[in-house]
């Protein structure tokens, strides 16, 4: 029992460390990690913002990915950036969870 628990704690700490490293980059306002169904699993911002972003981004990411693959089936989406007047949303998709962060534009 004990070794399993230990491994989970270790992994969780590593995850937190990684998120902290990204969050400490210049201008990062927050990070949200969502799984393939669009459900947020980790977030550094408050719940209502997390839920809002996760809900809105999910279909957008799917649409972007299908657009890329429709144009060229051998291609795939690697990174997505939405730039607005006040800030920028950056989305890094991947197998299983997909991380999206938003950064204030300078």
């Amino acid at each position: 029992m004990l070794p399993n628990l230990f491994v989970v704690c270790f992994l969780q700490a590593e995850v937190e460390e990684t998120l902290k490293r990204i969050q400490s980059q210049k201008g990062v306002q927050g990070i949200i990690v969502v799984n393939s169904e669009g459900i947020p699993i980790k977030s550094t911002v408050d719940n209502s913002t997390t839920v809002q972003y996760a809900g809105l981004m999910h279909s957008f990411i799917m649409k972007a990915r299908s657009t890329v693959r429709d144009i060229d089936p051998q291609n795939d989406l690697t990174f997505l950036r939405i730039r607005s007047k006040k800030n920028e949303i950056m989305i890094a998709p991947g197998k299983s969870p997909s991380a999206s962060g938003f950064q204030a534009s300078c």
Partner: protein, 510 residues
């Protein structure tokens, strides 16, 4: 030989009598055939309109999302490790890149000029040579109300005045006929619409009273009044506002500010009366001595308050402008009682905490910036304008102004920050102009100078429309209320405005 035998009787069947069985045929009916058709069903169809149970269970589920969704930490870690480098590289590229410098996208049609949409007036008020003393937009942004009175008179005027409202979205808007005219027995000095109910409006009078009208009642719009009690102001009320009750967020109280040195908070009662619940009084000896007052005034002299502005991020902090020419930072959360004055049912408190350096004349208007600092902390900037024609941009952290500009050779009557552009404010001058200043363009002269009236007719009040930020209402001494439509560069926030504003705020000298 002979024997007995019984002979059976003989049965002869009747030929004519038989079982009276029923045998009938329908030949014809006397009643006609009734035609029927289904017209209606009595059972009703229902639809769920609402539930009484709270929706909190759903949000609690969302809150527990991180615990409910089984997080595969190993998978998550491997994903994050793969993605981390890419993300950090992109983030670094982003803040170093100049690719988007000066890149702006216009989603709406650009309007290059400032134009006057409407010139509203009430002929009877103009005949009496009344001036527009105050303007207020209602919460929906479609109704503008103005009050008439006199700002240049010194005596106790008992002439009637008016409060007029126009609905700008109504077709057939007649600029000379207001939708509603309320007769008021004394000059109305200030107005404020309720922040959430579109028909309630409060006004402060020259006589010191505070009245509340409901514009949806045509018969008798007056619903609450303070009356002339011991608690009422003894001087004209120069500003009124609605205060959200901290305990019950849908209850509002009314705040009134007057040159008798008192800031009073009123509560509406059922009988149409406004009663005093809280109050603040300013006396000369309780003003913080962060700057020297030139004249030695008697300690108990009341300090006349002419304007007030609540800080947008901290509801207990407010800035007031006084007749003495300086602004004060005050707080509602004080406990010290004001120097005792008789005749008030509620103990008045002394709210002043910090004094800012003075203008050369009475301060007529103060306005706190509604923009928050983006990343952390709060912006604590406010503007004050007075009869010396200067505006001072103050940070609440220091007494000296950050910027001091002379906008006019005459008085400045009103100063308002723009609701959408953090660097823009508008000022109403005694020379009949409304000046729009943009700290981003030039810090010496106004970006746009709107000529409302002749040079002898001061503009007394201006108000931005928060729901339609391209509209600016300005009222002047000739009794005209003009609605100006601003050009597009005053409506949209630029990309680096907040940074610029933060830089201004950070110029606080130690």
């Amino acid at each position: 030989m002979f024997g007995d035998s019984a002979a059976r009787g003989a049965d002869v069947e009747s030929l004519w009598r038989r079982d009276q069985g029923t045998r009938c045929e329908a030949k014809s009916c006397q009643t006609g055939e009734i035609s029927t058709v289904e017209a209606a069903v009595q059972s009703h169809s229902s639809r769920d309109a609402g539930m009484q149970t709270d929706q909190s269970e759903e949000t609690i589920q969302n809150l527990d999302l991180q615990k409910e969704v089984p997080v595969d930490y190993a998978g998550l870690l491997s994903f994050l490790q793969g993605v981390e480098d890419v993300v950090i590289k992109e983030l670094n590229k982003n803040w170093r890149s100049h690719a988007f410098d000066g890149f702006e996208v216009n989603w709406v049609d650009q309007n290059e000029t400032v134009s006057c949409l409407h010139s509203l007036s009430y002929p009877e008020a103009q005949d009496q040579k009344l001036q527009v003393t105050s303007i207020s937009w209602n919460v929906t942004g479609s109704v503008v109300a103005c009050s008439y009175g006199r700002l240049d008179d010194g005596d106790w005027s008992t002439e009637k005045s008016y409060v007029c409202t126009w609905n700008l979205d109504r077709r057939g808007l007649n600029p000379k006929r207001p939708d509603l005219v309320v007769d008021v027995p004394s000059s109305v000095m200030c107005l404020a619409f309720h922040p959430s109910q579109p028909s309630l409006i409060v006004g402060g009078l020259y006589s010191g009273e505070v009245l509340i009208w409901d514009t949806s009642r045509i018969e008798d719009p007056l619903i609450w009044r303070t009356g002339m009690t011991d608690d009422t102001h003894t001087d004209p009320v120069y500003q009124v506002d609605w205060l959200q009750d901290s305990k019950h967020s849908h209850h509002f109280q009314i705040l009134s500010v007057s040159t008798d040195g008192k800031i009073l908070v009123w509560q509406t009662q059922r009988d149409g009366q406004l009663t005093l619940v809280e109050g603040f009084a300013l006396v000369a000896q309780q003003i913080p001595r962060s700057m020297k007052l030139k004249k030695r005034t008697r300690g108990e002299t009341a300090v006349g308050v002419t304007s007030l502005s609540f800080s947008c991020f901290d509801p207990s902090v407010f800035i007031i402008g006084v007749e003495g020419g300086y602004s004060l930072k005050c707080s509602t959360a004080v406990e010290t009682a004001a120097v005792p004055r008789t005749g008030s049912s509620v103990t008045l408190k002394a709210p002043a905490q910090f004094a800012f350096s003075p203008h050369g004349g009475p301060v007529y208007c103060v306005s706190c910036s509604p923009f928050h600092r983006q990343v952390m902390g709060r912006l604590n900037l406010f503007l004050s304008g007075g009869t010396d024609g200067h505006i001072h941009l103050h940070s609440m952290l220091q007494a000296q102004p950050l910027i001091s500009l002379q906008l006019s050779k005459k008085y400045l009557f009103s100063v308002r920050w723009s609701p959408v552009r953090p660097l823009v404010f508008a000022a109403a001058t005694g020379e009949g102009e409304v000046q729009l200043f943009d700290f981003g363009k030039s810090s010496q002269k106004p970006a746009v100078s709107i000529k409302q009236a002749s040079a002898q007719t001061p503009v007394y009040c201006i108000e931005f429309n928060f729901k339609q930020p391209q509209l600016l209402a300005a009222g002047d001494a000739s009794g005209m209320l003009k609605i100006w439509q601003l050009s597009s560069d005053f409506i949209q926030q630029g990309p680096r405005e907040m940074n610029h504003l933060e830089q201004l705020a950070n110029e606080v000298t130690d």
